[in-house]
Protein backbone atom coordinates (compact mmCIF):
# COMPACT_ATOMS: atom_id res chain seq x y z
CA UNK A 1 0.00 0.00 0.00
CA UNK A 2 1.54 3.32 -1.06
CA UNK A 3 1.93 6.06 1.57
CA UNK A 4 -0.07 8.71 -0.27
CA UNK A 5 -3.13 6.45 -0.61
CA UNK A 6 -3.34 5.78 3.09
CA UNK A 7 -4.34 9.26 4.31
CA UNK A 8 -8.17 8.91 4.13
CA UNK A 9 -7.94 5.30 5.32
CA UNK A 10 -5.79 6.12 8.31
CA UNK A 11 -8.20 8.89 9.27
CA UNK A 12 -11.11 6.44 9.12
CA UNK A 13 -9.13 3.82 10.99
CA UNK A 14 -8.25 6.40 13.63
CA UNK A 15 -11.91 7.41 13.96
CA UNK A 16 -12.97 3.78 14.44
CA UNK A 17 -10.17 3.21 16.93
CA UNK A 18 -11.16 6.27 18.97
CA UNK A 19 -14.77 5.09 19.01
CA UNK A 20 -13.80 1.59 20.18
CA UNK A 21 -11.50 2.80 22.89
CA UNK A 22 -13.42 5.87 24.06
CA UNK A 23 -13.98 4.35 27.51
CA UNK A 24 -10.27 3.65 28.12
CA UNK A 25 -9.10 6.97 26.69
CA UNK A 26 -11.69 8.78 28.80
CA UNK A 27 -10.40 7.00 31.92
CA UNK A 28 -6.79 7.83 31.16
CA UNK A 29 -7.48 11.46 30.29
CA UNK A 30 -9.39 11.89 33.55
CA UNK A 31 -6.01 11.45 35.29
CA UNK A 32 -4.27 13.99 33.08
CA UNK A 33 -3.51 17.39 34.63
CA UNK A 34 -5.83 19.26 32.30
CA UNK A 35 -8.96 17.30 33.27
CA UNK A 36 -8.03 16.71 36.89
CA UNK A 37 -7.79 20.41 37.72
CA UNK A 38 -11.05 21.35 36.00
CA UNK A 39 -13.24 18.56 37.38
CA UNK A 40 -12.05 18.55 40.97
CA UNK A 41 -15.32 17.31 42.45
CA UNK A 42 -16.04 14.09 40.64
CA UNK A 43 -13.80 11.83 38.56
CA UNK A 44 -16.83 10.43 36.71
CA UNK A 45 -17.52 13.88 35.40
CA UNK A 46 -13.95 14.13 34.14
CA UNK A 47 -14.33 10.74 32.41
CA UNK A 48 -17.56 11.91 30.77
CA UNK A 49 -15.91 15.14 29.59
CA UNK A 50 -12.96 13.15 28.26
CA UNK A 51 -15.30 10.81 26.37
CA UNK A 52 -17.11 13.82 24.87
CA UNK A 53 -13.80 15.12 23.54
CA UNK A 54 -12.88 11.64 22.22
CA UNK A 55 -16.26 11.47 20.45
CA UNK A 56 -15.62 14.85 18.89
CA UNK A 57 -12.14 13.78 17.74
CA UNK A 58 -13.62 10.55 16.31
CA UNK A 59 -16.18 12.65 14.40
CA UNK A 60 -13.42 14.82 12.99
CA UNK A 61 -11.30 11.79 12.08
CA UNK A 62 -14.21 10.09 10.29
CA UNK A 63 -14.90 13.24 8.28
CA UNK A 64 -11.23 13.18 7.21
CA UNK A 65 -10.70 16.87 8.06
CA UNK A 66 -7.83 16.28 10.48
CA UNK A 67 -6.32 19.72 9.99
CA UNK A 68 -9.54 21.71 9.83
CA UNK A 69 -10.14 23.85 12.96
CA UNK A 70 -13.72 24.50 11.84
CA UNK A 71 -14.61 20.79 11.43
CA UNK A 72 -18.10 20.18 12.83
CA UNK A 73 -16.79 17.80 15.49
CA UNK A 74 -14.88 20.52 17.32
CA UNK A 75 -17.93 22.78 17.45
CA UNK A 76 -19.72 20.47 19.87
CA UNK A 77 -16.88 20.43 22.41
CA UNK A 78 -15.78 24.04 22.06
CA UNK A 79 -17.75 25.02 25.20
CA UNK A 80 -16.14 22.20 27.12
CA UNK A 81 -12.65 23.07 25.92
CA UNK A 82 -13.30 26.74 26.60
CA UNK A 83 -14.23 25.95 30.20
CA UNK A 84 -11.15 23.83 30.72
CA UNK A 85 -8.85 26.41 29.12
CA UNK A 86 -10.46 29.20 31.17
CA UNK A 87 -9.96 27.21 34.38
CA UNK A 88 -6.28 26.73 33.58
CA UNK A 89 -5.90 30.38 32.60
CA UNK A 90 -7.44 31.41 35.96
CA UNK A 91 -4.87 29.22 37.68
CA UNK A 92 -2.22 31.44 36.13
CA UNK A 93 -1.20 29.29 33.16
CA UNK A 94 -0.14 30.93 29.92
CA UNK A 95 -1.73 29.76 26.65
CA UNK A 96 1.54 28.03 25.77
CA UNK A 97 1.50 25.98 28.99
CA UNK A 98 -2.15 25.07 28.40
CA UNK A 99 -1.26 23.92 24.89
CA UNK A 100 1.53 21.83 26.39
CA UNK A 101 -0.94 20.08 28.67
CA UNK A 102 -3.16 19.37 25.68
CA UNK A 103 -0.16 17.84 23.91
CA UNK A 104 0.30 15.51 26.91
CA UNK A 105 -3.10 14.01 26.12
CA UNK A 106 -1.60 12.39 23.03
CA UNK A 107 0.74 9.97 24.82
CA UNK A 108 -1.87 7.63 26.42
CA UNK A 109 -3.73 7.44 23.12
CA UNK A 110 -0.56 6.64 21.17
CA UNK A 111 0.26 3.88 23.63
CA UNK A 112 -3.21 2.37 23.23
CA UNK A 113 -2.98 2.63 19.47
CA UNK A 114 0.37 0.81 19.39
CA UNK A 115 -0.83 -2.07 21.57
CA UNK A 116 -3.92 -2.45 19.38
CA UNK A 117 -1.95 -2.43 16.13
CA UNK A 118 0.87 -4.70 17.35
CA UNK A 119 0.39 -7.21 14.54
CA UNK A 120 -0.15 -4.67 11.80
CA UNK A 121 2.26 -3.53 9.15
CA UNK A 122 4.89 -1.03 10.44
CA UNK A 123 4.14 1.54 7.74
CA UNK A 124 0.45 1.41 8.59
CA UNK A 125 1.11 1.89 12.32
CA UNK A 126 3.36 4.82 11.56
CA UNK A 127 0.71 6.43 9.34
CA UNK A 128 -1.96 5.99 12.00
CA UNK A 129 0.27 7.53 14.67
CA UNK A 130 0.98 10.41 12.36
CA UNK A 131 -2.73 10.97 11.77
CA UNK A 132 -3.24 11.00 15.52
CA UNK A 133 -0.45 13.57 15.90
CA UNK A 134 -2.08 15.81 13.31
CA UNK A 135 -5.42 15.47 15.05
CA UNK A 136 -4.07 16.40 18.50
CA UNK A 137 -2.17 19.30 16.96
CA UNK A 138 -5.48 20.59 15.59
CA UNK A 139 -7.06 20.11 19.01
CA UNK A 140 -4.30 22.26 20.45
CA UNK A 141 -5.04 24.95 17.90
CA UNK A 142 -8.73 24.85 18.80
CA UNK A 143 -7.93 25.26 22.48
CA UNK A 144 -5.53 28.11 21.76
CA UNK A 145 -8.23 29.80 19.72
CA UNK A 146 -10.79 29.40 22.52
CA UNK A 147 -8.34 30.77 25.08
CA UNK A 148 -7.48 33.80 23.01
CA UNK A 149 -11.09 34.62 22.13
CA UNK A 150 -12.06 34.31 25.79
CA UNK A 151 -9.37 36.87 26.56
CA UNK A 152 -10.67 39.18 23.86
CA UNK A 153 -14.20 38.97 25.28
CA UNK A 154 -12.83 39.89 28.68
CA UNK A 155 -11.02 42.91 27.26
CA UNK A 156 -14.15 44.06 25.42
CA UNK A 157 -16.26 43.72 28.57
CA UNK A 158 -13.73 45.66 30.63
CA UNK A 159 -13.53 48.38 27.99
CA UNK A 160 -17.30 48.80 28.25
CA UNK A 161 -17.12 48.90 32.04
CA UNK A 162 -14.36 51.48 31.86
CA UNK A 163 -16.54 53.66 29.65
CA UNK A 164 -19.35 53.58 32.19
CA UNK A 165 -17.19 53.91 35.27
CA UNK A 166 -15.16 56.78 33.93
CA UNK A 167 -18.13 59.05 33.25
CA UNK A 168 -20.24 59.56 36.35
CA UNK A 169 -22.71 62.44 36.40
CA UNK A 170 -22.68 64.24 39.74
CA UNK A 171 -25.54 66.30 41.10
CA UNK A 172 -23.65 69.27 42.54
CA UNK A 173 -26.63 71.37 43.58
CA UNK A 174 -30.35 71.48 42.91
CA UNK A 175 -30.49 71.99 39.17
CA UNK A 176 -26.71 71.78 38.64
CA UNK A 177 -25.10 68.60 37.31
CA UNK A 178 -21.43 68.02 36.56
CA UNK A 179 -19.36 65.48 34.63
CA UNK A 180 -15.70 65.21 35.60
CA UNK A 181 -14.00 63.98 32.44
CA UNK A 182 -10.92 61.86 33.05
CA UNK A 183 -8.64 60.46 30.37
CA UNK A 184 -8.65 60.84 26.64
CA UNK A 185 -11.92 61.94 25.10
CA UNK A 186 -12.56 59.89 21.93
CA UNK A 187 -15.78 59.58 19.93
CA UNK A 188 -17.09 56.54 21.82
CA UNK A 189 -16.52 58.15 25.19
CA UNK A 190 -17.89 61.53 24.22
CA UNK A 191 -21.03 59.74 22.99
CA UNK A 192 -21.44 58.06 26.39
CA UNK A 193 -20.76 61.36 28.17
CA UNK A 194 -23.31 63.16 26.03
CA UNK A 195 -26.00 60.52 26.59
CA UNK A 196 -25.52 60.25 30.34
CA UNK A 197 -25.33 64.03 30.74
CA UNK A 198 -28.55 64.59 28.79
CA UNK A 199 -30.32 61.86 30.75
CA UNK A 200 -29.17 63.49 33.99
CA UNK A 201 -30.41 66.90 32.80
CA UNK A 202 -33.88 65.40 32.30
CA UNK A 203 -33.85 63.41 35.56
CA UNK A 204 -32.59 66.23 37.77
CA UNK A 205 -34.42 68.96 35.84
CA UNK A 206 -31.04 70.66 35.73
CA UNK A 207 -30.72 74.13 34.26
CA UNK A 208 -26.91 74.05 34.41
CA UNK A 209 -24.47 71.36 33.31
CA UNK A 210 -20.75 71.58 34.05
CA UNK A 211 -18.18 69.70 31.97
CA UNK A 212 -14.97 69.53 33.96
CA UNK A 213 -11.93 68.71 31.82
CA UNK A 214 -9.31 68.84 34.60
CA UNK A 215 -8.54 65.17 33.98
CA UNK A 216 -8.26 65.45 30.20
CA UNK A 217 -4.53 65.43 29.39
CA UNK A 218 -4.69 67.20 26.03
CA UNK A 219 -7.28 69.07 24.03
CA UNK A 220 -6.98 68.87 20.26
CA UNK A 221 -9.44 69.98 17.63
CA UNK A 222 -11.28 66.64 17.78
CA UNK A 223 -11.75 66.82 21.55
CA UNK A 224 -12.88 70.43 21.21
CA UNK A 225 -15.40 69.35 18.59
CA UNK A 226 -16.77 66.68 20.95
CA UNK A 227 -17.05 69.25 23.73
CA UNK A 228 -18.88 71.68 21.47
CA UNK A 229 -21.32 68.99 20.37
CA UNK A 230 -22.11 68.10 23.97
CA UNK A 231 -22.58 71.75 24.86
CA UNK A 232 -24.89 72.28 21.85
CA UNK A 233 -26.99 69.22 22.73
CA UNK A 234 -27.35 70.35 26.36
CA UNK A 235 -28.41 73.79 25.14
CA UNK A 236 -31.06 72.24 22.89
CA UNK A 237 -32.44 70.47 25.95
CA UNK A 238 -32.74 73.81 27.70
CA UNK A 239 -29.72 73.60 29.99
CA UNK A 240 -26.76 75.92 29.99
CA UNK A 241 -23.38 74.24 29.72
CA UNK A 242 -20.18 75.43 31.37
CA UNK A 243 -16.75 73.97 30.57
CA UNK A 244 -14.40 74.15 33.54
CA UNK A 245 -10.98 72.87 34.52
CA UNK A 246 -9.11 74.49 31.64
CA UNK A 247 -5.46 74.53 32.63
CA UNK A 248 -3.23 77.36 31.36
CA UNK A 249 -1.40 75.00 29.00
CA UNK A 250 -4.68 73.79 27.52
CA UNK A 251 -5.95 77.34 27.14
CA UNK A 252 -2.80 78.15 25.13
CA UNK A 253 -3.16 75.01 23.02
CA UNK A 254 -6.74 75.91 22.19
CA UNK A 255 -5.67 79.40 21.12
CA UNK A 256 -2.73 78.08 19.07
CA UNK A 257 -4.97 75.60 17.29
CA UNK A 258 -7.35 78.42 16.44
CA UNK A 259 -10.34 76.64 17.97
CA UNK A 260 -13.20 79.01 18.63
CA UNK A 261 -14.90 78.21 21.92
CA UNK A 262 -16.44 81.67 21.98
CA UNK A 263 -19.99 80.35 22.15
CA UNK A 264 -19.17 78.28 25.25
CA UNK A 265 -19.01 79.57 28.80
CA UNK A 266 -15.63 78.56 30.24
CA UNK A 267 -14.19 78.78 33.72
CA UNK A 268 -10.78 77.92 35.13
CA UNK A 269 -11.93 75.75 38.02
CA UNK A 270 -14.96 73.62 38.83
CA UNK A 271 -15.58 75.89 41.83
CA UNK A 272 -15.79 78.91 39.53
CA UNK A 273 -18.26 77.11 37.30
CA UNK A 274 -20.44 76.20 40.29
CA UNK A 275 -20.25 79.79 41.54
CA UNK A 276 -21.40 81.00 38.12
CA UNK A 277 -24.32 78.54 38.07
CA UNK A 278 -25.39 79.55 41.57
CA UNK A 279 -25.14 83.27 40.84
CA UNK A 280 -27.20 82.81 37.71
CA UNK A 281 -29.91 81.15 39.81
CA UNK A 282 -29.84 84.00 42.31
CA UNK A 283 -28.20 81.91 45.04
CA UNK A 284 -25.62 83.67 47.19
CA UNK A 285 -23.15 81.68 49.27
CA UNK A 286 -21.53 83.83 51.94
CA UNK A 287 -19.60 83.13 55.13
CA UNK A 288 -21.60 83.12 58.34
CA UNK A 289 -21.43 86.62 59.89
CA UNK A 290 -19.11 86.83 62.88
CA UNK A 291 -21.05 87.13 66.14
CA UNK A 292 -18.23 88.46 68.30
CA UNK A 293 -18.14 87.12 71.86
CA UNK A 294 -19.90 83.84 71.14
CA UNK A 295 -17.04 82.71 68.90
CA UNK A 296 -14.05 80.97 70.37
Amino acid sequence: MAEHDTAPDTAKELGAFLERRREQIGQRWADAALFRTVFTVSRDEAVEAGKAVVDALADVARSGRLEDVDAPGFGTVRDQLGRMAAARARAGYTPVQIAGEVADLREPVTALLQTELQDADDVWVHACAQALAVLTATLRLVIMETTVSAGEELIERQRQQLLEVATPVINLWDGVVAVPLIGTLDSARSQVVMESLLEAIVDQRAAYAILDITGVPTVDSLVAQHLMKTVAAARLMGAECIVSGIRPAIAQTIVHLGIDLGSIITRARLADALAYALTQQGIVVSPRPATGASQR
Binding site: M194, E195, E199, K229, A233, L236, M237, G238, G282
Partner: protein
Protein backbone atom coordinates in the same frame (compact mmCIF):
# COMPACT_ATOMS: atom_id res chain seq x y z
CA UNK B 1 -40.74 74.29 0.93
CA UNK B 2 -41.08 73.79 -2.79
CA UNK B 3 -37.90 71.77 -2.96
CA UNK B 4 -39.38 69.09 -0.78
CA UNK B 5 -41.57 66.28 -2.02
CA UNK B 6 -44.33 65.56 0.44
CA UNK B 7 -43.50 62.24 2.13
CA UNK B 8 -47.06 61.54 3.21
CA UNK B 9 -49.56 61.70 0.41
CA UNK B 10 -52.55 60.61 2.50
CA UNK B 11 -54.60 63.06 4.57
CA UNK B 12 -52.70 64.10 7.71
CA UNK B 13 -54.14 64.31 11.20
CA UNK B 14 -55.15 67.96 10.66
CA UNK B 15 -53.57 71.26 11.65
CA UNK B 16 -51.65 71.63 14.93
CA UNK B 17 -53.65 73.75 17.42
CA UNK B 18 -52.11 77.06 18.51
CA UNK B 19 -53.21 78.12 22.00
CA UNK B 20 -53.00 81.69 23.32
CA UNK B 21 -51.94 82.02 26.98
CA UNK B 22 -51.85 85.72 27.82
CA UNK B 23 -49.10 87.21 25.67
CA UNK B 24 -47.67 83.80 24.73
CA UNK B 25 -48.66 81.34 22.01
CA UNK B 26 -48.35 77.69 23.02
CA UNK B 27 -47.93 74.94 20.41
CA UNK B 28 -47.70 71.29 21.42
CA UNK B 29 -46.26 68.92 18.82
CA UNK B 30 -47.11 65.23 19.13
CA UNK B 31 -45.48 62.38 17.27
CA UNK B 32 -44.47 62.95 13.69
CA UNK B 33 -45.23 66.29 12.08
CA UNK B 34 -46.26 65.94 8.44
CA UNK B 35 -44.81 68.32 5.89
CA UNK B 36 -48.16 69.94 5.13
CA UNK B 37 -48.98 70.39 8.80
CA UNK B 38 -45.55 71.91 9.42
CA UNK B 39 -46.04 74.52 6.70
CA UNK B 40 -49.56 75.19 7.95
CA UNK B 41 -48.22 75.66 11.49
CA UNK B 42 -45.58 78.12 10.32
CA UNK B 43 -48.26 80.10 8.51
CA UNK B 44 -50.71 79.95 11.46
CA UNK B 45 -48.18 81.20 14.00
CA UNK B 46 -47.08 84.26 12.05
CA UNK B 47 -50.73 84.98 11.19
CA UNK B 48 -51.74 84.79 14.86
CA UNK B 49 -48.91 87.05 16.00
CA UNK B 50 -49.64 89.63 13.33
CA UNK B 51 -53.43 89.68 13.71
CA UNK B 52 -53.62 89.42 17.49
CA UNK B 53 -55.29 92.41 19.18
CA UNK B 54 -52.99 92.10 22.20
CA UNK B 55 -49.23 92.00 21.60
CA UNK B 56 -47.69 88.54 21.46
CA UNK B 57 -44.33 88.43 23.21
CA UNK B 58 -43.37 84.83 22.81
CA UNK B 59 -44.02 81.47 21.20
CA UNK B 60 -43.49 78.26 23.17
CA UNK B 61 -43.19 75.06 21.14
CA UNK B 62 -43.49 71.97 23.33
CA UNK B 63 -41.71 69.09 21.60
CA UNK B 64 -41.61 66.66 24.54
CA UNK B 65 -43.89 64.34 22.55
CA UNK B 66 -41.60 64.28 19.52
CA UNK B 67 -39.29 61.28 19.33
CA UNK B 68 -37.79 61.77 15.88
CA UNK B 69 -36.63 65.04 14.35
CA UNK B 70 -35.32 65.24 10.81
CA UNK B 71 -33.56 68.08 9.04
CA UNK B 72 -36.88 69.28 7.61
CA UNK B 73 -38.49 69.74 11.02
CA UNK B 74 -35.28 71.34 12.27
CA UNK B 75 -35.49 73.90 9.48
CA UNK B 76 -39.20 74.52 10.09
CA UNK B 77 -38.48 75.26 13.74
CA UNK B 78 -35.65 77.65 12.83
CA UNK B 79 -37.90 79.42 10.31
CA UNK B 80 -40.74 79.77 12.84
CA UNK B 81 -38.23 81.38 15.21
CA UNK B 82 -36.90 83.71 12.53
CA UNK B 83 -40.32 84.88 11.33
CA UNK B 84 -41.61 85.29 14.90
CA UNK B 85 -38.63 87.44 15.75
CA UNK B 86 -39.44 89.71 12.81
CA UNK B 87 -42.83 90.17 14.47
CA UNK B 88 -41.18 90.91 17.85
CA UNK B 89 -41.92 87.57 19.49
CA UNK B 90 -39.30 85.20 20.93
CA UNK B 91 -39.52 81.48 20.31
CA UNK B 92 -38.63 78.94 22.99
CA UNK B 93 -38.37 75.19 22.38
CA UNK B 94 -39.43 73.22 25.42
CA UNK B 95 -38.87 69.64 26.53
CA UNK B 96 -36.57 68.28 23.83
CA UNK B 97 -35.68 64.65 24.44
CA UNK B 98 -32.02 63.61 24.77
CA UNK B 99 -32.16 61.38 21.68
CA UNK B 100 -33.60 64.23 19.61
CA UNK B 101 -30.93 66.64 20.87
CA UNK B 102 -28.17 64.19 19.94
CA UNK B 103 -29.68 63.66 16.48
CA UNK B 104 -29.89 67.39 15.80
CA UNK B 105 -26.31 67.99 16.95
CA UNK B 106 -25.03 65.10 14.83
CA UNK B 107 -26.83 66.66 11.84
CA UNK B 108 -25.14 69.98 12.64
CA UNK B 109 -28.45 71.71 13.44
CA UNK B 110 -27.77 73.57 16.67
CA UNK B 111 -30.69 76.00 16.15
CA UNK B 112 -28.72 79.06 17.30
CA UNK B 113 -31.63 81.53 17.14
CA UNK B 114 -33.96 79.56 19.36
CA UNK B 115 -34.30 79.77 23.11
CA UNK B 116 -34.58 76.43 24.85
CA UNK B 117 -36.07 75.26 28.14
CA UNK B 118 -36.45 71.98 29.96
CA UNK B 119 -40.24 72.13 30.06
CA UNK B 120 -43.16 74.44 29.27
CA UNK B 121 -43.19 75.87 32.78
CA UNK B 122 -39.59 77.05 32.50
CA UNK B 123 -40.16 78.25 28.96
CA UNK B 124 -42.98 80.50 30.20
CA UNK B 125 -40.78 81.71 33.07
CA UNK B 126 -38.02 82.47 30.58
CA UNK B 127 -40.36 84.52 28.41
CA UNK B 128 -41.94 86.27 31.40
CA UNK B 129 -38.64 87.37 32.86
CA UNK B 130 -36.68 88.21 29.79
CA UNK B 131 -37.53 91.33 27.81
CA UNK B 132 -38.77 90.35 24.37
CA UNK B 133 -36.62 93.03 22.75
CA UNK B 134 -33.43 91.07 23.48
CA UNK B 135 -33.33 88.14 21.08
CA UNK B 136 -30.39 86.40 22.78
CA UNK B 137 -30.25 82.67 23.13
CA UNK B 138 -29.20 82.89 26.77
CA UNK B 139 -30.88 85.75 28.58
CA UNK B 140 -29.44 86.52 31.98
CA UNK B 141 -31.84 84.89 34.40
CA UNK B 142 -32.38 86.31 37.87
CA UNK B 143 -29.24 88.39 37.64
Amino acid sequence: MTGFVARHSGPGPGPVPVLALGDVLLVTLQGELHDGAAEQLQHDISQRIASSTTPVNGVVIDISGVEIVDSFLGRVLAEIAASSRLLAARTVLAGMRPAVAITLVEMGLTLPGLGTALDVERALALLGRAPSAAPTAHPEEGA
